[in-house]
């Protein structure tokens, strides 16, 4: 057996249930033992020496503490590995328990592994504390190491720097950084049957990681970082775009403010100066106007007086003319009236005749009215009595004795009583009454003023007796008078009838007389009128002339009045205006916002020069001052509006220039920005394109990593394709691209290349980078994928598939290696893949033979076993088969024996198998 550099033997002493185990590692081994006898435990012990890092060791479901206790039950439990290295020769790498807490320690010494070196004289194993001394006695210089130092030295990360410490760089890797993944793969080679497709992918990625970006790409962060400024700029641009109208309003207001400032600055000195002269001007002017007004009013008054006089005169003349005219008309009327009468005498004669006729008639009437006094007196007395009777009767009209008697007596009875109480009773002759004077006196003695009748009591006071006994002579005389009266009355009656006619005649004669008297008067009047006709005519003419003059004079007054009134009104208006101006200026003077900030220092603020006329006169001061104050207030309002607009614009997103100076400057910059929007859009586009280029640089790396990996896999496939795997004609590993992801990356990378190639303007004329739908879709895919996986890596861009094809059959792709073929074929594939990965990592200049382990090897037929052995050997590994029955294809056949409850593998129990052909050689 030729000694190849590499693992030679594995020895366990008092560890993993083995009292002693020696296992050859320099060639293929068939490790024979029933299931669960400790085969895997034996091989797994190698992890302590080869993997070292507890986190990378794999003991299946066993907990670490239990594992440690299992392998290092006490401080004389050893795991030893004899290796042969090209530069260092034979070395023993060891791991010994420390007892306490089942910790363990690493050591190395030069020289071959002799189990007896670890025995004490009593046959027991040397304990860890005494190991160095014990081995020194045997001329073995033991060097102890911490696990990290041991790892570094084992994997060649550094050379041994301590004195005579041996160099035990077993695993010389192309790149020292591959140590971790080498350890992982190596761990898996100890249980190759459990190698999974996912592990193959991960290991390959780690093996070829130098061609890939160092870390996963956080595309979202990259995009956001690259587009941060773009997004900010775009947000600002959009804010300006959306608020163009508001910005235009801002600009207008700013322009207005600048103009007004200039105007106020220009006008203020003039106003101040004029204000100083105002009071004096006002007083002077006011006096003048007032004086003028009163003079005008006086003139007006005089004019009005004169006008009144003229009017009176006109009235008088009118009356006079009318009177004269009337006289003329009267004269004409009278002349016509007396057209048939030639002289006054005719009227006088008529009057005389009428008077006589009237007098005659008057006498007649008077005669008809003559009567004697006595008769008249009696008529008067009789008249008075009759009046009294009637008055009394009226007073008792509704409540008198007659009515009371009528109510209680029969009409016949009432009539009897009425007749009894009549004044005719006293004239009853004697044959018509009976008198009982005694009874009557007695009766009349009673009652005084009362008269008691049966059933009737009468009060007699205030009643007058209606009968008085007169003598016969008196009665005769009275009767004669009455007869005469009757005659006279008859005459009077007759005369009375004639009286009416007589009176009528008298009246007519009176009328006639009066008519003639009137005619006489009128005749005299006519005479007077005729006498004064010429004078009257002349007077009339004069009056008319005077009237005409008066009218003429009066007609001019209207205009003069109007003129004077207008002047007075104007003057009054001027006074009022002046007073109004005074009040106005006084009010304005006491409310001067330009006397305090911010208007006080307006000249220092930016403003446009005021080019229009700004001179102020005393006459225009009020108006100018009012406008000036309005301008000042407008400036303040504009300050407020502009500030408000700025707040609105800022809340709408225009915040870039917020802290770049004063608000004034901010306004200017915003307005300038608004005018540069189209250029800003172009600039934004350029920024976006530049950002795309920036953000895709990492994607380009990622894509490059994918291409590189695919190339590497292609090379790897050549490596694993060298071996015939069972009946497979085809076996290769194929990285199947995740098309969606790769498309997204290529989309962005291509866009970046297009952008940077200078063709961009034509391509993007239809829309901007920021609005490209496919680009955005690609971005979304990458961002969401990166978020889901905390970054994008090359490994995310493909799925590893195993392409397997039997002879004569089409190759098929399998995601899972275990389902790709039969058990034996899969095992081969796993072995080849795993060993190829290790081979890939090793420095081929310093090949060191290692081991790999395959459990359940009986599942493989002999051809496959041989093939596996050869394949492993080709890759620099000795294959250890584990099975309940020995396999003749291996070089060594090593049974595990049990003794006293412990497993035991002795060197003496090794069986070396050699084919007859080899033996013949």
């Amino acid at each position: 057996m030729s000694i190849q550099h590499g693992f030679q033997r594995l020895v366990l002493l008092g560890s993993a249930g083995y009292q002693r185990a020696e296992l050859p590692l320099d060639d293929s081994v068939s490790l024979v033992a029933p299931n669960n006898a400790g085969k895997t435990s034996l091989i797994n012990a190698l992890q302590f020496l080869l993997i070292i890092n507890q986190k990378r060791m794999d003991f299946g479901a066993h907990e670490w503490d239990k594992t440690r206790r299992f392998y290092f039950p006490d401080n004389s439990a050893y795991i030893l590995l004899e290796v042969s290295l090209p530069e260092s020769g034979t070395l023993v790498l060891g791991c010994v328990g420390k007892g306490v807490g089942h910790e363990y320690e690493y050591f190395v010494y030069a020289g071959s592994l002799d189990v007896e070196d670890f025995r004490l004289e009593d046959g027991s194993l040397v304990a860890q504390p005494q190991l160095s001394e014990h081995m020194a006695a045997r001329k073995r210089l033991v060097h102890t190491y911490s696990s990290s130092d041991f790892t570094d030295l084992l994997y060649g990360r550094r050379r041994s720097g301590r004195g005579h410490a041996p160099d035990f760089r077993v695993f010389r890797l192309e790149n020292a950084q591959d140590a971790e993944v080498y350890q992982k793969v190596l761990t898996r080679t100890l249980r190759l049957d459990r190698l999974t497709s996912g592990e193959v992918k991960n290991y390959l990625l780690q093996i070829f990681k130098r061609d890939q970006p160092d870390a996963g790409i956080n595309f979202k962060n990259e995009w956001e970082n690259a587009f941060k400024d773009v997004n900010l700029a775009r947000a600002y641009y959009q804010a300006a775009l959306n608020q163009q109208q508001t910005i235009d309003e801002l600009e207008q207001r700013q322009e207005e403010r600048l103009s007004l400032r200039g105007k106020v600055v220009a006008q203020r000195p003039g106003i101040d100066e004029v204000l100083q002269h105002w009071e004096n001007h006002y007083q002077t002017r006011h006096q003048a106007l007032t004086r003028q007004q009163s003079e005008l009013e006086q003139t007006l008054g005089e004019l009005q007086n004169h006008h009144g006089e003229l009017r009176v005169q006109r009235e008088k003349l009118s009356g006079q003319i009318e009177a004269l005219a009337q006289q003329g008309r009267r004269q004409a009327e009278l002349e016509q009236h007396f057209a048939l009468i030639n002289a006054r005498g005719e009227l006088e004669q008529r009057w005389e005749e009428a008077r006589r006729a009237r007098d005659e008639q008057l006498t007649l009437v008077n005669n008809l009215n003559g009567r004697e006094l006595a008769t008249i007196d009696r008529d008067i007395a009789d008249n008075h009595r009759q009046q009294k009777d009637i008055q009394r009767e009226l007073a008792t009209l509704h409540d008198n004795l007659y009515q009371a008697l009528a109510a209680v007596l029969e009409p016949a009875q009432l009539e009897r009583l009425n007749r009894a109480l009549s004044e005719q009773v006293m004239t009853l002759p004697s044959q018509r009454f009976e008198l009982d004077k005694q009874s009557l006196r007695e009766w009349l003695e009673q009652g005084d003023e009362r008269l008691d009748l049966p059933g009737l009591i009468l009060e007699l006071n205030e009643l007058e007796g209606v009968f008085s006994q007169r003598s016969e002579q008196e009665l005769r005389q009275r009767l004669t008078e009455l007869e005469q009266q009757a005659q006279r009355l008859a005459d009077q009656r007759e005369a009375g009838q004639a009286m009416a006619r007589t009176k009528q005649d008298l009246e007519s004669r009176e009328k006639a007389l009066k008519a003639i008297e009137r005619d006489l008067e009128v005749w005299d009047e006519m005479a007077r009128l005729q006498a004064g006709a010429s004078e009257r005519e002349q007077a009339l003419t004069e009056a008319r002339q005077a009237q005409e003059r008066t009218e003429k004079e009066l007609s001019g007054f209207q205009q003069r009045f109007q003129g004077l009134n207008r002047e007075i009104a104007e003057t009054a208006e001027a006074v009022r205006e002046l007073e109004r101006q005074y009040e106005q200026i006084d009010r304005l003077r006491h409310q001067r916002p330009d006397q305090r900030e911010p208007l006080l220092s307006l000249a220092e603020q930016s403003h446009h020069s005021w080019l229009a006329e700004s001179a102020v006169t005393l006459e225009s001061l009020a108006e100018v001052f009012e406008r000036y104050q309005q301008d000042c207030r407008r400036i303040l309002e504009l300050d407020r509006l502009i500030h408000q607009t700025l707040v609105e614009l800022r809340s709408g997103g225009l915040t870039k220039h917020q802290n770049c100076g004063s608000e004034e400057e901010e306004v200017g910059r915003i307005v300038d920005f608004r005018h540069q929007l189209s250029k800003e859009a172009e600039s934004l586009e350029r920024m976006a394109r530049s950002a795309v280029v920036t953000v895709t640089s990492s994607l380009r790396d990622l894509h490059g990593g994918l291409l590189s990996f695919e190339k590497r896999i292609s090379e790897f496939n050549r490596l694993i394709g060298r071996r015939q795997l069972s009946d497979l004609e085809t076996f290769r590993i194929s990285p199947k691209r995740q098309l969606g992801l790769v498309w997204a990356i290529e989309k962005l990378v291509d866009t970046a290349e297009t952008v940077s190639s200078g063709e961009s303007f034509e391509i993007f004329s239809q829309g901007s980078v920021l609005d490209d739908q496919d680009l955005d879709w690609a971005r979304r895919i990458l961002v969401e994928e990166g978020d889901a996986r905390s970054g994008l890596r090359v490994g995310d861009l493909f799925q590893l598939q195993f392409v397997v094809g039997k002879k004569g059959a089409e190759p098929e792709s399998f995601d899972d290696i275990d389902s790709a073929a039969s058990n034996g074929t899969v095992l081969m594939a796993k072995l080849v893949t795993g060993l190829a990965m290790l081979y890939q990592m090793q420095d081929q200049r310093h090949g060191v033979r290692a081991v790999c382990y395959l459990d359940e090897a009986l599942a493989l037929d002999a051809d496959n076993q041989r093939s596996l052995i050869d394949a492993a050997s080709e890759f620099g590994f000795s294959l250890i088969f584990a099975s309940p029955a020995p396999l003749t294809t291996a070089r060594y056949c090593v049974p595990i024996q049990e003794r006293d409850g412990f497993n035991h593998i002795s060197r003496r129990s090794w069986q070396i198998l050699e084919s007859l052909e080899e033996a013949a050689e």
């Binding site: 199947k736 995740q738 098309l739 969606g740 992801l741 498309w743 739908q773 496919d774 879709w777 895919i781 969401e784 994928e785 978020d787 889901a788 996986r789 799925q799 598939q801 995601d815």
Partner: protein
């Protein structure tokens, strides 16, 4: 014996189960978080769902679904309509020179549907599918995970590969039947019996 499943490592188990049991296809492109979770614990999810009687199929092209043997008549109708729509769509796009393998990059908007309907009106209306129905079918496609909405249009998801493969199978069957026809015609060359001369 299979390894025990640690439910603590399957935080999105119920979410995934609801997703799949609703008949939806999970697509990496549209649900990257769920997909990453499924990918990381694929074997565990497969084992767990299998224990529950569900067959989880995971396609390395980035989609997964519950494979069912039976389906209701309504689902069959939907499937049929989807197949018809996709077939007409693919047919149109192929005629337009677009590579079918890049169907995930197509933007399916209303204008495209109008054109597809116009070109395949007879076939579609034989199935009583008017233009409005096509929009409904696309929405159903979204529900089942064959498409997703994107700014008022749709994009097809990798799950559509299932229909593409089906179409390819059908096309292959047609090709093979044509080949058979060719073979049979070739083998049936008229024998030279000396008879049968033309009169």
């Amino acid at each position: 014996m299979s390894e025990p499943v640690d439910l603590e490592k399957l935080p999105r188990l119920s979410e995934l189960f609801r997703f799949f049991s609703a008949g939806k296809h999970l697509n990496r492109v549209s649900e990257p978080v769920l997909w990453a979770e499924l990918e990381a614990q694929q074997s565990a999810y497969e084992a767990l769902f299998s224990a529950l009687g569900y067959e989880l199929r995971v396609d390395a092209r980035g989609f997964a679904w519950f494979q069912t043997q039976e389906s209701s008549s309504a689902v069959n109708r939907v499937t049929r309509h989807l197949a018809l729509l996709f077939m007409t769509l693919f047919d149109y796009q192929a005629d337009a020179g677009l590579p079918l393998v890049q169907f995930e990059q197509w933007v399916i908007d209303h204008r495209l549907l109008d054109t597809v309907h116009e070109h395949h009106q007879e076939v579609l209306e034989a199935e009583e599918l008017d233009r409005h129905a096509l929009t409904g079918i696309m929405e159903r496609a979204v529900n089942y995970g064959f498409a997703m909405n994107d700014n008022g249009a749709w994009r097809l998801l990798p799950a559509v590969h299932r229909y593409v493969e089906h179409f390819e199978e059908l096309a292959a069957q047609v090709d093979s039947s044509e080949d058979w026809l060719l073979d049979t015609t070739q083998t049936q060359e008229p024998t030279d019996a000396g008879e049968g001369t033309e009169s």
